[in-house]
Symmetry: C2
Subunit: 331 residues, 2 copies
């Protein structure tokens, strides 16, 4: 059983995923080539027997295209859905069972296509699959948060090349999310306004950090980016929870996400990247101070090794320059 353990100083929970246990010699640098080495892609049509049973399938059309999007449990889950939390102490420390869910969303049946290559309608189906899974997982009273993310290319943590994203449902709110909630609440208590709404308004006026805009979303390089070419997709309309968006928003978001990924791919020669959906914990679905959004982080430089440990970020590319560069690219 995986175990959740709490750092007694800063209160961050980590997953000790014993079933993915590695011995020292198991660690080696990975390349896109090494993750391709099996020959058979387990995420391709016709290979469905190689993965756990589907949780959700959106139907596709045409021969060898029975499905458009598939969701199934991760074969090597960081957390498991069975059992109780069994919270307990061990002297100064705290632990609980690694209860939760870890799912894979295969974004397209086409092995050759990246998320950035899909049409807006195809991307919108992926976004709807995230929503549907969040709504389902939210009914489990043991769980408090769903984290949706994508790792693109081996250097960003992907272990299968076929385009996919992941969901991890957690019995605790991750520290970075808790920090965001707390900071947003403090701003709201001081100003009686949502900090994200204020950011959207200021960026729309200022324009220097705007990369792209459509009716419902603003794509910006944030004012204080941790990483070069970090890119945020902000809904213009205030809403705490991603899963509460009206249906039309998913198509608009698909447009904004597709443009963002294509611009980054063109600017940075198909960089490895991670993106993370930032949305409210289950208990805070309708609050005035938090505003869901997506943060995309290209993985350009190994200097982050130091930076992730220290929380101290040195960014050599001003966001105004990155935005000007991205804005001009035709995609």
């Amino acid at each position: 059983m995986p175990e959740l353990r709490k750092d007694p100083i800063v209160g961050r929970w980590v997953i000790i995923a014993t079933e993915r246990a590695k011995r020292p010699h198991d660690y080696h640098p990975e390349s896109d080539r090494s993750i391709e080495s099996g020959g058979v892609c387990p995420f391709c049509p016709g290979e469905e027997h190689r993965t756990p049973k589907d949780i959700l399938v959106y139907a596709g059309a045409g021969p060898g295209r029975d499905w458009a999007v598939r969701v199934f449990p991760n074969r090597y889950p960081a957390l498991k859905i069975e059992g109780g939390l069994d919270r307990e102490g061990d002297g100064v420390y705290d632990r609980m069972n690694g209860v939760g869910a870890h799912e894979v969303v295969v974004e397209t049946p086409d092995h050759q296509k990246q998320l950035a290559d899909l049409t807006d309608e195809e991307i919108a189906r992926v976004l709807a699959a995230w929503r549907d899974r969040i709504l389902d997982l939210e009914r489990d009273r043991r769980l408090r948060y769903v984290m949706v993310f994508k790792n693109h290319r081996a250097a960003a943590g992907a272990s299968v090349l076929h385009s996919h994203s992941q969901l991890i449902a957690l019995p605790t709110v991750p520290k970075n999310v808790a920090d965001e909630m707390k900071g947003s609440l403090e701003y709201y208590q001081f100003k009686e306004r949502c900090v994200f709404c204020d950011i959207v308004a200021q960026e729309q006026r200022d324009r220097r950090r705007v990369v792209h805009e459509n009716g419902a979303f603003l794509v910006v390089e944030p004012y204080a980016p941790k990483f070069p070419f970090e890119t945020w997709i902000l809904p213009k309309h205030h809403r705490s929870a991603y899963e509460d968006c009206p249906p039309a928003d998913y198509l608009a978001l698909a447009g904004a996400l597709g443009v963002s990924l294509r611009k980054l791919r063109r600017a940075l020669d198909d960089p490895p990247y991670n993106f993370i959906l930032h949305t409210s914990p289950f208990q805070d679905r309708h609050i005035p101070y938090y505003h869901w959004h997506i943060e995309i982080m290209p993985t350009l430089s190994p200097v982050a090794g130091f930076e992730w440990g220290s929380g101290f970020y040195i960014n050599p590319t001003p966001p105004e320059e990155a935005a000007a560069f991205l804005r001009e690219l035709d995609v």
Copy 2:
């Protein structure tokens, strides 16, 4: 002038280091080979003219060994020592000038030696250089914190192979340090004991996570490690600030650090690593609730790309297993 910018949501400051500015095509993966490519090592004896002027030199002995440890300003500093902070707002955002210091500590004149290869006495001189620089920088009223760290190998962010560590002096306390101070204070308010002292006592009794121990220091795998083989060096005696250690402690620390680095090198085949000195902000040098220490993080897996962005860590190696493995290694 570099600029410090504050994230308006979580309050993290980042450095926008414009003088290290990079265009998109400047980003490319680095290898140990690429950082060696110049042919001439600027940190070697006889090449001192290639670096900025020394701030601190400890004398060496013998021909071509005029110095044992040298400290000089980083040629591409993330922060600059001249000027005022000029704190100002820009709508929802906050910025100040990038005032601070960024220094390089060359740990040995010998190009072939890693820090792990040095004698305890040689390592102790490096540790004394950190202390001397902290004590000097502390006199600058604009500064609030000195972060001391080391990046070993290109994959961990090193741009020169010759063994060195770095200091960054900051006009603000980094968010991770502030989080540690706050968490430690909360524990102290609840228990009236230092959380680190409690950890030392529990780990000494429990032994399962202990890697090494000497009279003054305990080397452990922490209970909730963010990364596989993350290793902490904890002083047994409570003290908030590294620079206040009695002289004998630096030799004992050198022993503990040397053993730790050699064990990690042997276990993980000379892994890239970062280590970070965690010490109190200048204004908190003598407090009952915070306890300086060193955290070493081998850089084993690219999965961290996702993890640094989310603050959500999945660790496939239980610290008890890592400790048992490291404990047995003769170094």
